[in-house]
Symmetry: C2
Subunit: 469 residues, 2 copies
């Protein structure tokens, strides 16, 4: 799928970086690993030089753990430290521990501030300070300012390199400035217009700038309607803003509306991806920060917690079964069929909950439509409850040759599917209301509801119907 | 969070468009609905004019269904048809049915080609043709070409408006061209360099162009290393490419490497969001295209299918219980405890499955690490199996005052958690291998495994232990 760089094409025709599935090719990794093993710096550099920082990051992940730091050592200035923003957190932390501080400082000097902050923020205070002290004063101050903003805020996400001009400049003057100035950001899409107090007045995209009459003043050309984010705003809100207005970048301002940085879409894409990941994992009972590179013990411990909570709810459901021990003994068919009622309710409730949690996450579900959606889910539960009640009833009647048992399971199924629908929507809504993350905790409550209601309704109705009390 | 446009600030100070939670404010929607009701075109226009297309889309979604088409009619040219790309599919289709074809054609004329294709592609062939025939020939041809590419391909996602120059032009010449030409794309980030056969040679971002010496030729300035996509490539692959290399845009080429369009990051963000949504929904047993605006019947029907499959597996699990009817009758404690073994195994397996499905989706899991991850998951299952086996065994022993029953559930729990771990990883891997979507179908198989293994191991071991056979 990918074209290699020209450099790659000429230097290493034989070794394709990625295989057809887009994974880093085994042959390539082996070749690099061998060269690292042999300490052949020139070979290593030739192999790695042609590749993009993201590919360098993928290579690091694919290498054996003990070859990673040595690779970076051998690569010297061929290694792009931005590659470290592309690897798993745990691998990055290991690497930063292993690498000499001097190497890290040298590598950090070439980074844009957002990448530098991304790497620094996971280190502990001492390591951070050691690295910061090795950097030139201007960079240090900018990074320190970003790091002072709360975790997961726009201030952490932004880069501080940007182009800002005064409102009285003309388009021509601005273009000449861009043309003549050495010290510009590595890449940028717009020029910001600020007042003498560095307060943001507006911005002009480059495509508009090059199309404008040279004599026009920038404050006449700039758009003032564009969205800005505050440095303390949470990154999820920033992501919402980018999604909603299809932004490519957005200025970041401080509490006095002074321009302090710019957030670009590539960082926001990471946030969106991260968020979606967290939702998927949370719904599956996995911690949001679990990574494929974690150790067995770390994973076992983090999953234990969720399973422990589930075990308690499983015992609660069993206790309900225990209430009906006598009835189960008299009619063992009840013991055989009860799990069907509970499981079908659980699955229906999970469907509703999934829709609710995701709609809450992307803000499609709110006070405005909560009632309507709840009503709709209840009706869906009722309809499917009737359908599955009749179906299960028929099968159970045939199985146990007793239409009474079919009638009982039919009613219980209907009750549990409606209960599941209500639980599936009301529990996430309530959790959101009280400030808990619905993706994380809805599942436990919802299946508790359907297990308890399923067992209780089925066995309760059976007790009455058959006079088993 | 949002600043309103200047226009909005002066025209309608009193009505904020969004409330503090970012939802469209009720007061604003009511004011618009009233003005629509009264047929007051001027009022409607004043209320809506200041807002971005995305806000106009949100307004349409928030309005009662019967007011939507009338709003668009009253707005006339104040309505930005791009707003239709921001609303739910079902609402868009309804609206396009209701609106006079002439209105739709007029609205489509102002759209970038990617937005136009997005709106057109869901219509049936007749409607598509009717609209296409009303458009100017050049637009019609471009749209038709996009529509001829397969659904969900890069060709559908791209916009055909772009700037391309020959390789022998200089930077100065190119800038002068941009300055003097009227008919440029609404917004663009780069200039493409093409040969006389319109084959892509390279591209230059605007920030690089304005910084370059005016006399330099573009083929000396252009970067050739950037990634391109083929028009027939699937949008998910396009999204992977953008994510991997932090792209803002990418050229689209046809089979002859001719430049046919450009995909921009805003469209890719939608794809990423959509994909994540599909994974979340699929794991929760909900169809990927279910939307909050769907009708009760549509939803009930689409969810029925998944629940039906689950019902079959629930009956299979119950049949396993049925095999042990005699044992259940002799020891009712077994009937009470069996669901705990099954449920705990199901939850542990779901954890593993969630990690596996997501890692497959974002291509972190592949042939290279499948074995290692499987081994790791098995060990996690073993560790947690031992932990929960002992815990459950202790509680069960106390509950039923019989350490034998504790011993039996302890072993069964261990067996089922290891089985769950293996099922949770091997089932998604196998489904991926045979070309099925692991997110959609893993759940059913996985819970079948843990229900069957859970019931069978617990009751089988109990039969042997207590000599109940």
């Amino acid at each position: 799928m990918l074209d290699l760089d020209d450099g790659a094409k000429s230097a290493e025709r034989i070794l394709a970086f990625r295989d057809e599935e887009g994974d880093v090719s085994r042959d390539y990794v082996d070749a690099v690993a061998q060269a690292v093993e042999a300490g052949d710096a020139e070979k290593v550099r030739d192999l790695v030089r042609p590749f993009h920082e993201a590919d360098q990051g993928a290579l690091i992940e694919a290498l054996p753990a003990d070859a990673r730091a040595r690779l970076i050592g051998l690569l010297g200035d061929v290694f792009d430290f931005a590659a470290l923003t592309e690897v798993d957190d745990s691998i990055r932390e290991e690497l930063l521990d292993e690498l000499p501080t001097k190497t890290v400082i040298e590598g950090m000097k070439d980074l844009e501030s957002d990448d530098a902050v991304y790497i620094l923020e996971d280190l502990d205070k001492d390591e951070q300070n050691e690295i910061l002290e090795g950097l030139p004063a201007s960079e240090r101050v900018a990074l320190q300012k970003s790091l002072d903003y709360p975790e997961d805020s726009a201030g952490r996400l932004m880069q501080t390199e940007l182009v800002a001009v005064p409102p009285f400049w003309t388009a021509g003057q601005t273009l000449d400035h861009l043309h003549a100035t050495e010290d510009l950001p590595q890449s940028f899409f717009e020029v910001f217009v600020v007042d003498p107090g560095h307060r943001l007045l507006g911005q002009i995209f480059l495509d508009k700038l090059v199309r404008s009459p040279r004599i026009e003043r920038v404050d006449a050309l700039m758009s003032t309607d564009r969205r800005r984010v505050h440095a303390t705003e949470d990154q999820e809100q920033v992501a919402r803003l980018f999604e909603r207005y299809n932004l490519v970048s957005a200025p970041v301002v401080d509490e006095a509306e002074r321009l302090v940085g710019v957030v670009t879409i590539d960082d926001v894409v990471d946030v969106i991806q991260e968020e979606a990941d967290e939702d998927v994992k949370a719904l599956g009972g996995v911690r949001w920060d679990e990574e494929l590179s974690d150790t067995v013990m770390t994973i076992a411990r983090s999953r234990f917690v969720w399973l422990f909570v589930n075990l308690i709810t499983a015992f609660v459901a069993s206790a309900v079964l225990g209430l009906f021990e006598g009835q189960l003994q008299k009619m063992v068919a009840l013991a055989v069929l009860a799990p069907i009622v509970a499981s079908q309710g659980g699955n229906a409730a999970t469907q509703t909950m999934t829709v609710a949690v995701r709609a809450l996450a992307v803000r499609e579900l709110g006070a405005g439509n909560a009632f309507r959606v709840t009503l709709r889910e209840s009706l869906v539960g009722l309809l499917n409850g009737i359908g599955f009640g009749l179906l299960t009833g028929a099968v159970a009647s045939l199985w146990f040759q007793d239409w009474n048992i079919g009638a009982v399971i039919c009613i219980a199924m209907l009750v549990n599917l409606v209960a599941g629908a209500l639980g599936g929507i009301l529990i996430p809504l309530t959790l959101e209301k009280v400030g808990a993350d619905p993706a994380v905790s809805s599942g436990v409550f919802v299946t508790t509801v359907t297990d308890v209601v399923g067992f209780f309704s089925f066995l309760g109705i059976a007790t009455l119907w058959f006079g088993l009390g």
